[in-house]
């Protein structure tokens, strides 16, 4: 029983990281129709930037987050302006391939700036173990799960009530109609990239604090694909839930099926979901198929 509880708790923790990264994917896909293959690299880049800020200014956790998020949103804006905006009107395939190119560039740039050696990064958190109902947690793990909850709530409120959130949903529903009612589609696209980079910063910071700050964090981006697919590509809150489910599936299959299942359980889920219910749990049903 202890074994099961431990698997579930670590599953939820890594699932929370997947959920955060997946929300970034879903946000960009929802408003621009593009799968951003560079999301994992943005997560890695922002984690390294947070590391440099934390080392330079000796900030504790909350101020560090408050400083990192605006910087990463700015990075998202710049990336969108340089790499994605000029491609507007090109076929989706071309834009997606541009994000693949962007991903490789960011990955190389990060390694060339910070080197390929991993760092220990506490992000100003203590490492004392906290017991919750008999299950031990590190503070970083609790922060990660709390962050997922807070980001989900914030994004939900934003999409539901704020003027820009409604504009974003309008663009997602019908871009041309939104344009005709006076929504600036360009601004919405830029905003989606900014927000998803902001979420990526939260994910990167907390992921690095939980594990290690190493130049293979980008791979978490690919490992979060199952979460987006499961939640439905255009459902932002669905992606968060998908992340938690994928985290659980990975850990349980690692524990009960066999060594190494953690690495591929998610990818098997992708194939199953795409075969059975390609629009995921909460996505809209207009996925292309023949």
């Amino acid at each position: 029983m202890d074994f099961l509880m431990l698997l579930i708790s670590t599953g939820l923790v890594s699932g929370a990281a997947y959920g955060l990264i997946a929300m970034g994917f879903a946000l960009v896909y929802k408003s621009t129709g593009v799968v951003n293959f560079a999301q994992g690299e943005i997560v890695m880049l922002t984690a390294y930037i947070a590391f440099s800020i934390a080392n330079g200014l000796h900030l504790s956790f909350v101020p560090l987050v408050l400083v990192t998020i605006p910087i990463s949103m700015l990075i998202g804006l710049v990336l969108e302006r340089i790499f994605i905006r000029p491609m507007l009107g090109e076929p989706v395939f071309a834009i997606v391939m541009a994000t693949v190119g962007l991903a490789v560039i960011l990955r190389s740039a990060t390694i060339m700036i910070w080197g390929s050696e991993p760092f220990n990064f506490t992000a100003g958190m203590s490492t004392a173990v906290i017991k919750l109902g008999g299950i031990p947690f590190y503070p970083a793990q609790l922060y990660l799960m709390a962050a997922l909850g807070m980001v989900v709530l914030a994004i939900w409120l934003f999409l539901r009530f704020s003027r820009y959130g409604i504009a974003m949903r309008a663009v997602a529903a019908n871009e041309t109609a939104a344009l005709l009612t006076g929504v600036s589609v360009n601004q919405v696209h830029a905003l989606a990239w900014m927000l998803s980079s902001g979420i990526a910063a939260v994910a990167g910071l907390l992921f690095a604090a939980n594990f290690k700050l190493a130049p293979d964090i980008w791979f978490q981006g690919l490992k979060s694909f199952p979460a987006v697919i499961l939640g439905g590509m255009d459902s932002v809150t669905g992606a968060a839930l998908g992340g938690l489910i994928i985290g659980l599936i990975e850990n349980l299959s690692q524990g009960y099926i066999g060594e190494g299942m953690r690495e591929i359980a998610g990818f098997i889920v992708i194939i199953l979901v795409l075969m059975i219910r390609p629009y995921g749990l909460f996505g809209s049903r207009d996925i292309e198929r023949v």
């Binding site: 090109e90 541009a98 693949v100 390694i111 066999g258 591929i264 194939i271």
Partner: protein
């Protein structure tokens, strides 16, 4: 634009080329390639062999992604299947190399059918993600099926001889790879002018219309997967011969991205483009090395420290720049240059 040049029957329309000049150039090129080992040194020959293998892989991926419009991010997975099949059949089962090469192609084709079946209902990005997922699953299976694949230890490839020549290095390897490259290109050119190739292009341009015209989507999509992966498998097998050692790390995701970069760079859907792109991109790292070695020691030290990163970044920059400024790829540049040349001094 040639004047007085009419195509009078369907046969002329689908002919590979009706121009004597093109055939002469092709023959001349082939002569140069056959004589190449006597003209360039060992290091040059290794580079040329790598770029020829890249050509096979790119032409094969172009069948799937360029001609049928099925985006694949699983190239590395199929290369791995081909390389491992070849390495294991040669080393553990002692098959002769002339049998292991087609066998690795066939095994890759069979596995691609497995990938193809769930992919039939999907297209575009969803297919790309599925193939990506499959390539991770393939490398995982290789890593954990230790009984067959030696797992994380990798396989040393040895014992590949044809007529007593060791085809794992130098001139014999070069001729083997050259022969297979020419065969692949000819096969690709010929497939694209048969019913199969035209069906693929119809599926790419409009799948529903293609189906209405009586093209069996399931059959032709699976055929695209199988034929493409057959050649990718052979490219993988040749990689294993050249590298002499295979393990899972060789077939990382960057290889799939490199393959896509090649066909985007060359011009999607064009076989000549795939060839040009493969040549360009396989000589890019070498050009970068020469470029960096022109600077002072500091900068060339930077290059040796971050050789993979600089290479990766160069691929990324090439993809982004071509998509942005020249979506038709190198073949588009070539066509523009030719038009400019023949129309000069007029604009068009």
């Amino acid at each position: 634009m040639r004047t007085g040049h009419f195509k009078e029957n369907p046969g002329q329309l689908v002919a590979l080329s009706d121009s004597r000049v093109v055939w002469t150039w092709f023959a001349g090129m082939l002569c140069v390639m056959v004589l190449a080992p006597f003209l360039i040194g060992n290091y040059g020959l290794t580079l040329v062999v790598s770029s020829l293998i890249a050509i096979i892989g790119a032409v094969a991926l172009n069948m799937l992604t360029g001609q049928t419009g099925l985006i694949s991010l699983g190239q590395a997975g199929f290369l791995a299947v081909g390389a491992y099949s070849n390495a294991l059949l040669l080393t553990d089962y002692h098959w002769p190399v002339w049998l292991t090469l087609p066998a690795s192609g066939l095994i890759a084709a069979l596995i691609s059918l497995l990938v193809g079946i769930p992919s039939l209902r999907l297209k575009g990005l969803y297919l790309a993600i599925t193939t990506l997922a499959f390539s991770f699953i393939i490398s995982h299976v290789i890593l954990y099926a230790e009984g067959v694949t030696h797992g994380p230890n990798g396989v040393f490839v040895k014992g590949a001889t044809i007529f007593g020549y060791d085809v794992q290095k130098g001139v014999p390897l070069y001729y083997l790879v050259l022969g297979l490259t020419v065969a692949t290109i000819l096969a690709a050119l010929n497939i694209s002018r048969t019913r199969i190739g035209r069906a693929w292009m119809a599926i790419r341009d409009h799948d529903i219309a293609a189906r209405v015209m009586g093209i069996d989507l399931v059959r032709y999509k699976l055929l695209a997967f199988a034929i493409s992966s057959f050649f990718v498998g052979i490219a993988g097998a040749l990689m294993s011969l050249q590298l002499r050692f295979v393990n899972v790390d060789v077939f990382a995701l960057i290889l799939s991205i490199e393959a896509l970069a090649i066909i985007i760079l060359g011009g999607l859907g064009s076989i000549a483009g795939a060839v040009l792109g493969a040549i360009f991109l396989s000589f890019l790292p070498e050009t970068l090395r020469l470029f960096f070695s022109m600077f002072a020691d500091e900068k060339s030290a930077l290059f040796t420290d971050y050789v993979y990163e600089i290479r990766g970044a160069a691929y990324g920059v090439v993809i982004v720049l071509f998509l942005r400024f020249k979506p038709e790829g190198l073949i588009g540049v070539w066509k523009d240059a030719r038009k400019y040349w023949s129309n000069w001094p007029l604009a068009y």
